[in-house]
Amino acid sequence: MTPSRLAFAAILGKDLRAELRTLQSLPAMALFAVTTFVIFRFGLDRTALSGSLGAGVLWVTLLFAAILGINRLFVAEREEGGFDAIRLAPIDRTAVFAAKAAALLVYLLALELVVVPVFAVFFLDSAAALPPLVLVLLLADLGLAATGTLISSMAVNSRARDLLAPLVLLPLVVPLSIAATGAIEPLLAVGGPGYHRFGTWLAVLGLYDLIFLLVGYAVFDFLLED
């Protein structure tokens, strides 16, 4: 039985290398996000964003860009027989969940590395909010990675798979969205970053991450059975 961390490293490495080589998802996600910012600029008729409006635009854009990536997370496994390989390999299935979720987390962080500075340049006055913003997004991304991997692994085996993942995922991430935007809104306040209930919202994000990582860990075995 291959030890889990070897399996984890192998699968994560494969995914990241494949993405680096083909650059299928990441550039598209980033481009989508930046174009969405432009659409928001005109849709809301605003050249500067702050507070709840800024938090909303940033989070919604990141979420929808993430969904693009989530849709593609298991495509390679499905099209090239990866699922069979995983089933045959003597590894603990939960290592697969951990590796895929970690890969998705890396994609989301890479996405934000590009998109958040662009957001700041387009809409914000100062970069003072960025460091705490990164912390919030890190915790939020973890939750998104857990639920996204879980839903994507099921949707990929269905008809209308591009439709199914966003459909089921969006209500599921409502609590995550509430907490993320709740924390980001005071950070983008006009007078400078505020930390109203910052700790509380981070705790909620942490709780969400914990619960859905546990759920994913507990059920993923059943998803890969045949």
Binding site: M154, S158, L167, P171, V174, P175, I178, G182, F212, F222
Partner: protein, 240 residues
């Protein structure tokens, strides 16, 4: 045999509903704040509580299904969730009527419990397209169980998050200016809760009986080598 016990159960449900309605309109006193409108509360809140418990029950059946592999648990899980979604429709409509009567709008974002319930409803509404998009029956059942468990974990988190997002707190019915429901109202509420709970159980049993009959019919048809009837092939979970 799912139909067994359905008759006494239905009789008990009818009796409970009649007693509950009588208490609501002939016994419970008028609320000081909301007046006659408050009577909707005896319908709306039990429906919501029973629906939410039903979702949790659906999650429990899902866990049992994954652990045992017996497809009967999957059918129970499906019907529990299905019935709770239907009750959920009733919750949202009666909640909307209550909102219109109390605050003048057909929907208010200020009532955190109603908003949370809407989100939970939207989550479970995706159960159907999700199920029916997966063609292989066994896989469909397994994935549906995973969905039911995930959604079950989501419900308390959701209520918590939505409540935290509210800055205004509207008067909660359970905490009137006196600091709690008077005894007569509490009795009426509890009887209503029992009646709606019995209704849920009866309808779930009813639905399972119908499914079982359909399933037996299929078995019979297979055993007789009879031609299949015309009509769309259902991918819905079966009971045999």
């Amino acid at each position: 045999m799912y139909g067994k016990g359905l008759r006494p159960l239905s009789i008990a449900t009818v009796a409970a509903l009649v007693v509950s309605l009588s208490l609501v309109f002939f016994y419970a006193p008028l609320d000081a704040d909301q007046g006659f409108i408050q009577k909707i509360f005896y319908l709306h809140v039990p429906l919501a509580i029973v629906a939410l418990i039903g979702f949790v029950i659906g999650g429990v059946f899902a866990i049992l299904h994954l652990r045992s592999g017996d497809s009967r648990w999957d059918a129970y899980s499906y019907v529990s969730i299905h019935m709770s979604v239907i009750f959920g429709v009733a919750v949202l409509i009666t909640g909307s009527i209550w909102a219109k009567a109390s605050w003048g709008h057909w929907w208010v974002w200020d009532e955190p419990t109603l908003v949370s319930f809407l989100i939970v409803f939207l989550m479970y509404a995706t159960y159907y397209p999700f199920r029916y998009a997966i063609e292989d029956r066994e896989r469909q059942a397994r994935y549906a169980s995973v969905f039911a468990i995930t959604a079950g974990a989501f419900v308390p988190l959701n209520f918590m998050a939505v409540r935290m997002a509210q800055s205004l707190v509207h008067p909660r019915v359970f905490a009137t200016t006196n600091g709690g429901l008077p005894g007569s109202m509490m009795l009426t509420f509890l009887v209503s809760l029992l009646a709606i709970g019995l209704l849920w159980v009866t309808l779930v049993k009813f639905e399972l009986t119908a499914k079982s009959a359909s399933g037996q019919l299929k078995r019979l048809r297979r055993a007789l080598d009879a031609p299949a009837p015309g009509g769309r092939s259902r991918v819905a979970p079966e009971v045999s």
